[in-house]
Symmetry: C2
Subunit: 476 residues, 2 copies
C-alpha cells in the first residue's frame, strides 16, 4: 500500500548524539550539521515521500570523509542515508528513521577527461548538465539525459541507473559506468571495475552497485565511458488523432530498422494540459511523437525522411521537421512545458515510470484510460515510446482521494506485470514503490537480494527502508 510517510523506528537519540560527537571530532564542525533547521530540508527529496528529519547531516568533501562517516556510523549503530542531488522521484534519499544524511553534493570535481581513452572521471556531486557540457566541449558525449539534468547529480544518476529520452539508442547510465570508487557500510573502500573498455576479472560489482539506490555502498568517484559527440541532430514532430496511430508509427519505425536517439510520446490528456498552458497544438491531435536522430548529417537526413514516412503511413495528421536549432527548440517546447503544465492541473501528482515490451505500448495506454475511468482518478501518460517506458501520472487534489490513487497504481502495476513489463524504468523503487516490488519479483528473487544486502551491511544501516518491502522493525 502506498505510504507517502514511510517510517521505521527512529534511531535511539543517545546513539545519534554519540555519533555526532565522534563525527564532529573526526571531520570538523563545518562538515557536520546537527541544528534542527539545517537538518530539516534533508527530510525530503524531489518525490512525494515525506521522511524523518535526520539527526545529523554530513557534507562530505572526499572519499576519506565518506569512509570516516560510515565507520563511525557503523560502530555507533546509526543508520545512514546517502544523498547526492536529492532529485530522486521515489524517496531513495529520504531518511525513514532519522540518523545521518551523508551528502556528497559538495564533491563536484571533474577530475579528468580523456579524449583518446574516451572517458571521464568525476565525483558524485557533479551536476549532470555540467558534466555533459564539459565533455561536449571536448567533442565527447555522455548520452543519458534525464529531465532533471540541470539539477541532478552524477552520484544519484549512478545509484538510480538514470535513463532519459536518449536511452532508446544509447541505453541508461549502466551502459557507461566503467568503474566506481565506493565505500561499504563497514568502511571498506573498493575500486570496482576498471578504466578499460573491456574487462572480465571477477564479478561485476560495478553493475551490482549501479541502480542499488545507495543501499550497498556510497560512491565517491565514477569513471564513465563516453562516445564521440554526434556531429548532427535531426528533430521531427508528428501529430496523430489517436495514440493507436502513434503506436503504429513507433512499430513501423522499429520495423524499418531505424534507431532514433529519442522517440517520445505524449497522450491526449497531456496534450490538452500543454494547450491549456498556452502552447498552441492542433486541436485534432490526440497524440504526439517527438523524434530525434543523430549521427553524420547525411545519415540524419535519410533517417528523418524514413521516420517521416513511417509517421505518414501510420496516419499522422501533421509532420514537422526542424530546419535549424531555433525550430528544434520550438518542437521540443510542448515536451519541455509538459511537466509544468501537468503540475498546474491539480494540487498533487505522482508519476510512475512503468515499462512494457515495446509491442505492448498501445495496450498499456489503453489500460491507463480504462483504469482512470474505473477508478475516477485523473491520469495521463507520456514518455519514452521507443523503450516502452511510460510516465503514468496520477493527479489528485484532496488527501481523501489517496486510497483511490493507491488502488489505481496497484492496478496499473498488475497490468504492467501481466504484459511482462516492469515497475520502474528509471526512477527506481526507493520507498514509494517498495510495497509493490513483490508484484513483479518472486519471493526467492527478493530473498536473494536481501541476502546480498545483508552480506555487505549485516546491521541494515545503509539507506534502510529502501527497495525491499519492510517486514518488521529495521528490516532493510
Amino acid at each position: 500500500v502506498l505510504t507517502l510517510r514511510p517510517s521505521l523506528p527512529r534511531v535511539d537519540p543517545a546513539r545519534a548524539e554519540r555519533a555526532a560527537i565522534l563525527l564532529d571530532r573526526a571531520l570538523g564542525g563545518s562538515k557536520v550539521l546537527t541544528a534542527r533547521d539545517l537538518c530539516e530540508p534533508f527530510a525530503r527529496d524531489e518525490s512525494e515521500a515525506i521522511g524523518e528529519s535526520p539527526d545529523i547531516v554530513v557534507h562530505a568533501a572526499s572519499a576519506d570523509d565518506i569512509q570516516t562517516t560510515l565507520r563511525i556510523a557503523n560502530e555507533a549503530g546509526v543508520p545512514v542515508t546517502p544523498r547526492a542531488g536529492g532529485s530522486g522521484r521515489t524517496g531513495g534519499a529520504v531518511p525513514v528513521c532519522a540518523g545521518i544524511v551523508l551528502a556528497t553534493a559538495a564533491m563536484t570535481s571533474i577530475k579528468e577527461i580523456d579524449k583518446t581513452d574516451l572517458l571521464v572521471v568525476a565525483e558524485p556531486g557533479v551536476i549532470l548538465s555540467d558534466l555533459q557540457d564539459a565533455v561536449e566541449r571536448e567533442g565527447l558525449f555522455f548520452p543519458p539525459d534525464p529531465s532533471s539534468a540541470t539539477y541532478c547529480c552524477l552520484g544519484g544518476n549512478v545509484a538510480a541507473n538514470a535513463g532519459g529520452p536518449r536511452a532508446f539508442k544509447y541505453g541508461s547510465v549502466n551502459r557507461y559506468v566503467l568503474g566506481l570508487e565506493v565505500t561499504l557500510m563497514d568502511g571498506t573502500r573498493l575500486q570496482t571495475g576498471r578504466r578499460t573498455m573491456k574487462g572480465v576479472t571477477g564479478y561485476d560489482l560495478t553493475s551490482l552497485m549501479v541502480g542499488s539506490e545507495g543501499t550497498l555502498g556510497v560512491i565517491s568517484e565514477v569513471t564513465l565511458r563516453l562516445v564521440p559527440k554526434p556531429p548532427a541532430v535531426g528533430t521531427l514532430l508528428a501529430l496523430f488523432d489517436h495514440v493507436r496511430a502513434a503506436g503504429a508509427a513507433v512499430r513501423d519505425i522499429v520495423a524499418r530498422g531505424l534507431v532514433p536517439r529519442c522517440l517520445e510520446i505524449l497522450d491526449a490528456t497531456t496534450l490538452e494540459a500543454v494547450r491549456r498552458s498556452g502552447v498552441p497544438i492542433d486541436t485534432r491531435a490526440g497524440a504526439m511523437l517527438l523524434i530525434e536522430v543523430d549521427g553524420e548529417p547525411a545519415t540524419c537526413e535519410v533517417e528523418l525522411e524514413r521516420v517521416g514516412e513511417a509517421c505518414s503511413t501510420s496516419g499522422a495528421i501533421d509532420v514537422l521537421v526542424a530546419q535549424d536549432a531555433a525550430q528544434r527548440d520550438r518542437l521540443w517546447k510542448a515536451r519541455k512545458e509538459m511537466s509544468r503544465a501537468v503540475r498546474a492541473l491539480t494540487k498533487n501528482k505522482l508519476s510512475e515510470d512503468v515499462v512494457v515490451p515495446r509491442s505492448r505500448l498501445v495496450d498499456l495506454l489503453d489500460q491507463v484510460d480504462r483504469i482512470s475511468e474505473s477508478s475516477g482518478v485523473k491520469m495521463l501518460s507520456y514518455g519514452h515510446a521507443g523503450d516502452g517506458n511510460l510516465h503514468v501520472n496520477f493527479l489528485w487534489n484532496d488527501p481523501d482521494e489517496l486510497p483511490r490513487v493507491d488502488l489505481a497504481i496497484e492496478r496499473l502495476f498488475r497490468e504492467v506485470v501481466a504484459m511482462r513489463g516492469t515497475l520502474s524504468g528509471e526512477h527506481g523503487i526507493g520507498v514509494l514503490k517498495a510495497p509493490y516490488l513483490p508484484l513483479e519479483q518472486s519471493a526467492d528473487l527478493i530473498a536473494v537480494q536481501r541476502k546480498i544486502k545483508a552480506t555487505l551491511d549485516p546491521a541494515g544501516l545503509l539507506n534502510p527502508g529502501k527497495i525491499f518491502p519492510v517486514l518488521g522493525h529495521r528490516d532493510c
Copy 2:
C-alpha cells in the same frame, strides 16, 4: 604461479556414488553418465588447463533437470562444474576436484525471436553462430562475435561475458543480456532481469551472473536484446612498417570521432607466422590493421574514407578497401588464418587477453617485445586495438620452459596493471589466471566477491577452484 593442472582434494567417492544413484533415479540413465570413457572428455576444455575426469556427467535437457541436479549435488555435498560449449580459454569448464559436470549443450532451442521488441530468447546450448544466423534471417543482429562463434555456446558466452572484434562499437555480451533464468546451487530457480529495454527494480542480478563463470548459478534461459541488422559493411586493411605507426592510426581514428565496429591489430611476429602459412603479405609490413565499419551504405563509404585518411596520415604503406564480399573475405584471410598459423609455430601456446587503456596500446606492444627478449620466450600479439584488448601469445616447445613462461606472464600482468589495465578482456579468469587475480584486485575487493559467492553457495560446491586464488582445501 601458473598451474596447468590445478586441483582441489577429490570429492569423496562414496558421496559421488550416492549422487550418481540419486541422479540416475531422478533423471533417467540416458542423461546421467558415469562410465570412465564417457566422462574423461569432460576433464578438458579448449584451454591448456588439465582437469580431473568427473565422476558423473549430467546432460540436462531442461531447467528442471538443472534444478534437480543442483539439489541432489547440494544435498550430497558433491561439487558441480557447469559446461555449455566447453570452448573457454582459461579452464572455466574444467573440473578441478572431479564430481559432476553439468552439461547444457543439449539445450539448443531458440524459443522466440521478436522483431518488434527486438529480442531473442534462447537456451544455453545454442551455438552462437546458429543464434546469429537465426536473428539475421529476421533482419536483426546480435553483435558479439568471438572467434569461437561456430562452436561456442550461448551459456558460456553469458557466463564468460564474451567479447570479440565487434566490441569496440557494440560492447561485449553483458550489453545485450536483458534477463536470465538461472538456478543457484541450492536449487532455487530465479528469473533475473526482464524482457523490457529498461528496468531498475532491485539489484542487477543479471549483470552479477554475467561473467561469473558459472560460480554463482547455472543458466537455463537467456533473453537477449538485439539491434537492427546494419544494412552495409565496409572493410579496410592497412599495412604499416611498425606497430607504432599502426598505434598512431588507431589514435587518429578515435580522435576523428569514428567508431568502426572492428579495429583489429596484428604485430610483426604474427604477420610473419601468417606469411609462413602461405598467405602473401607485403614483406615491408611490420603491423596490420583490419578495420570494419557498418551502417547505412552512404555512411559506411564516408567513414571508410576517413579511416583510410587516418591510416595514410599515420604512414600506412598500403591501404586496401574491399569492393565486394569476395574481397572482404580476402582481407579477413590473414586474420582468420592467424590462429592456425600461430599454432603451427610451436607445440604449446598460451594466449592471454589483457586490456590496457587504448592510449597505452603501443606501450603495451613495446613491453611485449621487451618481455619476450628478456625472458627468452617467443611472444606475439594481435587483438582488438579499439578496445586496447591484446591477445598476447606465449609459445614454447618444451615443458622445461614453463617456469620462464610463467615469469613472462607475470611480468606482462604487472606491466598491464601498472598501465591501469586489466588481466582479462574476454576470456575470464577460470583456473589459469586465478593465481594472478591479486595482482589486479585488492584483498578487500576479492574478499567482498568471496562473501557474495559464499552467500549463494555456502559450501563452495558450484564450479570450485575458479576465479579466486585457492587458499586451502575446497576454498572456492
